[in-house]
Symmetry: C2
Subunit: 359 residues, 2 copies
């Protein structure tokens, strides 16, 4: 394993403490399953240094006594579960929103996303072992080993999503043990939901009749209307971000690229939290006209992204490339970041635009 | 029961043969469950005149012999199922798209939608009785008594949706037998899907390994990119319309209304095929700024629309009201009909705009 310092050098680092970084977009598009070293890192606090031999997970809130499991318990007492799923920060593409008006948070480009094959156990299997009954209105609260402003990191998801077959407690990513920055030894993977709901460095799960009251869940990660400011935001009136919206990005060519005349290959990703991407439109003229991209996906992985590509033959000069996707319900993306702008810069999902020059 | 002629007089009739009509929008907003007499009617052919005593439904394609059931069989051999669900034409709001460029089909305003309490039996119960096993890749093809261009009307849905608890064979609407124009004696109700997939005047269901090859399913009701014309449309490349997109409409005041100065009440509906509407924004200035509407829904009816209302205090003069909804994945609607325009005028779901005058 390369050192954390070496891995950081591969990424665009937005901050070191907490550590937040994303890959260049061409690297993101290089393979359908993103190598761990190229996978975006979003942390809110410190990077815990845990020992897999002494690590334990406590599960409480079921009908019986609290369950405590080691990593070897997870590996031996439960069936192995594998899911290829996309993970995405709620702030992915925030830079586009920041171009409209100031927003809080790191200026993520379209790289705060990645897809991996996650191996572990079904969260539902662990919850059932802990005597949890499926009842409407329950939530699973996660608590982690990292510390954010003096509190442990925490978040929650509805029990129905926790029990869904795609939701896992993962100890491996693309067949290898998790890297420290990706949650070693065990993290949650909640496919389709914002990454904030897939906590890393897990230490405790609690089944309860209300969402987590951790500031991450109760305060941050809410979607507000455009007229709400940091001063007027009332989390009780914000929409809790869980399922991620339809989105698409151009990964190649890069912004400002100088291309040769003739046919140029345009490549990117499209993704929707819980729906299938059925069409991707690509424009060589800022959205005045569109061509249909070819789509590539893993049919066995409904919670993973769709790769798309097409070729455009553009005349010399400057051109604005644009992309937008369509989901199975016939919904598409708004044209401009203004239409979904919010002061926290969440869920930027307008057409992605990249200006290039044909020399 | 009033006569068909009397009922037609209550509606805005787009065509008589086939009969297609929608209610004025204020009538649509008058009650959460739409009276049958005010419910839009979309027919593709004739209006069958059926006798409930001799009506039979044939179900084939299961492992056993074909099942044949009468209306009294449906009422006595299966548990009663009730679902409050919105039904909506794929062409709802086509008039807005027609304002951009010509489209085929009737110029529906925002009234090709309604919500009813449907009573009948679960389609899944009938399919299981006919020996149908749930297998991935199967479809349920419906055949009806109405005739379209010499063929019986037909359409299909994936078996998984047919087996879902919300999908019913309905013999009553808001507690009364179906009216002839709503499918008497029995119609399918497939909540969240376009109305075209909820056939009326049913006579046969077939479970098969491919979608219906009826022209309604195989040819019509496909979503195409904007550059596709009637001449170039290849149904194999169109997206089959099933789940309906997020949409919203202003039902009151009406277009061109002259309002008094001071606070005026604005009311409408919002709807999403298979997601929850979490926010509705209303603008008094064409979308430059927005206020949050109050929402009203039936929590026991996840496939029914959300009613919304708010008050606006506008200065004298002409104003463009606008509305847009947001779904639970943080997706919202495109601003303009141009962005989703297609030559068949399907799935018009841009911001709904209504110009009014304050006298």
């Amino acid at each position: 394993m390369s050192s954390l310092t070496e891995r950081k050098a591969r990424l665009i680092v937005h901050g070191d403490q907490p550590y937040n970084a994303e890959p260049p977009l061409d690297r993101l598009r290089a393979s359908y399953r993103t190598p761990a070293e190229d996978f975006y890192v979003r942390t809110h606090g410190d990077l815990p240094d845990l020992d897999e031999a002494t690590w334990r997970l406590t599960v409480d809130g079921g009908t019986g006594p609290a369950l405590e499991v080691s990593l070897s318990d997870l590996r031996t007492r439960f069936p192995v579960a594998m899911v290829t799923a996309t993970m995405q920060c709620a702030g992915n593409r925030r830079a586009d929103m920041r171009a409209v008006a100031p927003v809080s948070g790191d200026p993520w480009d379209a790289g705060a996303i990645g897809t991996a094959e996650w191996t572990g156990v079904r969260l539902g299997d662990v919850l059932r072992e802990a005597g949890v009954a499926e009842r409407v209105g329950l939530h699973v609260a996660f608590e982690s080993h990292d510390t954010v402003d003096g509190h442990p990191y925490g978040a929650s998801i509805p029990l129905a999503k926790a029990m869904a077959p795609e939701t896992v407690l993962a100890y491996a990513m693309n067949g290898e043990a998790l890297l420290p920055e990706h949650g070693f030894p065990v993290r949650a993977v909640v496919p389709g939901f914002a990454g904030v709901r897939s906590p890393k460095w897990l230490r405790r799960l609690t089944v309860q009749d209300h969402p987590s009251d951790n500031p991450i869940q109760a305060g941050d990660y809410k979607l507000y209307p455009a007229d709400v400011t940091a001063e007027t935001a009332d989390p009780a009136n914000g929409h809790t971000i869980d399922t991620m919206p339809l989105n698409a990005a151009i990964c190649e060519p890069a912004r400002g690229a100088i291309l040769k005349p003739g046919s140029n290959r345009i490549r990117g990703y499209a993704v929707s939290g819980d729906r299938t991407v059925v069409r991707v439109d690509v424009s060589g003229n800022g959205g005045w006209s569109w061509v249909q991209a070819e789509l590539e996906r893993d049919v066995a992985a409904p919670f993973a992204w769709t790769f798309w590509s097409t070729s455009l033959d553009l005349p010399p000069g400057e051109h604005e490339l644009a992309v937008r996707a369509w989901d199975e319900a016939g919904q598409t993306q708004p044209a401009l970041p203004d239409e979904t702008w919010n002061h926290k810069g969440y869920l930027c999902a307008c057409w992605h635009r990249v200006r290039v020059n044909i020399a």
